[in-house]
Amino acid sequence: MTSIGATVKEPGSSKHNKTGSWRTFKPILDKEKCIDCENCFLFCPEGCINKEYDIDYDYCKGCGICAEECPVKAIKMERE
């Protein structure tokens, strides 16, 4: 059964699709080194890093942008 016109009425429901399974490299943040610049939060294509800099691994695809954009190299990419 498809809804009328295939309209989706549950906003943000792609959260049911855990893209974390795509990941090969995992970003690990050292909060001690973090200088609160917000780069990782701003540049994450998944929007899965919050302002507390918690990384939601359910969705992180491991692209590595956060590690690359971290000005103090507080994020390391580690093989899963």
Partner: protein, 383 residues
């Protein structure tokens, strides 16, 4: 109130009475005066609607679909090349289950270029998921617009409608039309309140999603069920329309069919000519009838069959042709019922169809040489 007006004016009056909120339009002969009347209604404050003069018919139907997506009643109108340009979005509108109502002034498709009447344009959109209602006269143009909103907006249907009027023959000739009161129309046609989808920040929905093979086919299946179910909804709406306005309609109109030996089947303004010919022939004792198909989509197969089944022979008149197989209405009737029928192509690109042609069709139907033949009426070489 009785006024002597064109079908385009009648159609525009109906739109005004239906109170759409958004009207995106683009000019094209012979539809243009519908857009002009609506522009003046808005300019005079008689119609409280957002009138959008878009840059193409493609954008007219796109804007109509965007507006309908927010949950308001909308109207647009076009003809011929304009309808063809809309083609892609006609399918999208039906698939998104947007109850848009559109007026189509039937006109030939290019090439060669012709601005004159036939019904190739809307017939060519028969698979788009739009309902199509063909008017015989200006009064029907008005009445069908009002009913189309009710039918399209019915929760069991939710498919767009096209009200078809023959270009020039109806759009640019005048006849007396009874214009209902706003009070009666408001009684018949309440405001549109969608529940299936609408764009509202309080209830965020995603409309026009991407479906994979697990879902697409079911969505199309639902549309077919809705289209078939529309037959009953149309009957219900016809009845309620009669209760309020006193004019009686059905999916088809039977004219002298009861005891007819030969029945002509046709759509649109040509039915007026046929009725006049039948009146003459009946006086001479010839048992001829007309079945006017009003609803081409949904296709009223039972109504058609029940009306023609007792006739000896039927003739189907098409102002369109599907190249290589003949008239579309003829072929659909042949496909859906076991009847002895001949098919005739006529009136393409505004070729006149005088009463003599109707008599010629009746003669050729009485004694057919080949029922598979595509019979062309009015071709010069033929004479």
């Amino acid at each position: 109130m009785l006024r002597v007006i064109s079908a385009n004016r009648a159609l525009a009056e109906a739109v005004k009475l239906a109170r759409p909120k958004v009207v995106p339009v683009y000019p094209i002969t012979p539809q243009t005066t519908i857009s002009e009347y609506l522009a003046s209604f808005v300019a005079d404050g008689e119609l409280k609607a957002e009138y959008i003069m878009v840059e193409s018919e493609h954008s007219a139907i796109s804007a109509a679909l965007g507006a309908s997506g927010t949950g308001v009643r909308v109207f647009t109108a076009t003809s011929s090349q304009g309808l063809a340009l809309m083609h892609e979005i006609l399918f999208a509108a039906a698939g998104l289950r947007a109850p848009i109502v559109m007026g189509n002034a039937n006109r030939a498709l290019s090439a060669p270029l012709s601005i004159w009447n036939d019904q190739q344009d809307s017939i060519s959109e028969r698979d788009s998921g739009w309902m199509q209602f063909f008017a015989e006269n200006a009064q029907e143009a008005l009445d069908f617009i009002l009913q189309a909103y009710r039918i399209s907006e019915d929760q069991d249907v939710l498919l767009p409608s096209m009200v078809c009027v023959d270009g020039f023959i109806l759009t640019h000739t005048v006849e007396p039309v009874d214009i209902p009161t706003q009070e009666d129309v408001d009684k018949f046609l309440p405001p549109y309140q969608p529940t299936h989808s609408y764009l509202d920040p309080e209830h965020p929905m995603s409309i026009g999603t991407f479906t994979d093979p697990n879902y697409y086919m079911d969505a199309r299946y639902d549309m077919e069920i809705a289209m078939e179910g529309a037959v009953d909804v149309i009957r219900k709406v016809n009845k309620e329309f009669e209760e309020v306005f006193g004019r009686k309609y059905d999916l088809v109109e039977k004219y002298e069919c009861e005891d007819a030996e030969i029945i002509l089947v046709a759509m649109g303004s040509i039915c007026g000519t046929i009725k006049a010919v039948i009146d003459d022939l009946r006086e001479k004792g010839e048992k001829i009838g007309l079945l006017k198909v009003i609803s081409f989509r949904p296709f009223p197969r039972e109504d058609i069959y029940n009306a023609v089944k007792n006739a000896n022979r039927i003739a189907v008149l098409d102002k369109n042709i599907s190249m290589g197989i003949g008239g579309v209405l003829f072929n659909e009737i042949k496909a859906k019922m076991d009847v002895d029928a001949s098919g005739f192509i006529l009136g393409l690109g505004g070729r006149d169809v005088p009463p003599e042609d109707i008599i010629r069709i009746i003669e050729r139907t009485r004694n057919p040489t080949d029922t598979q033949k595509i019979n062309w009426i009015g071709i010069k070489e033929e004479e």
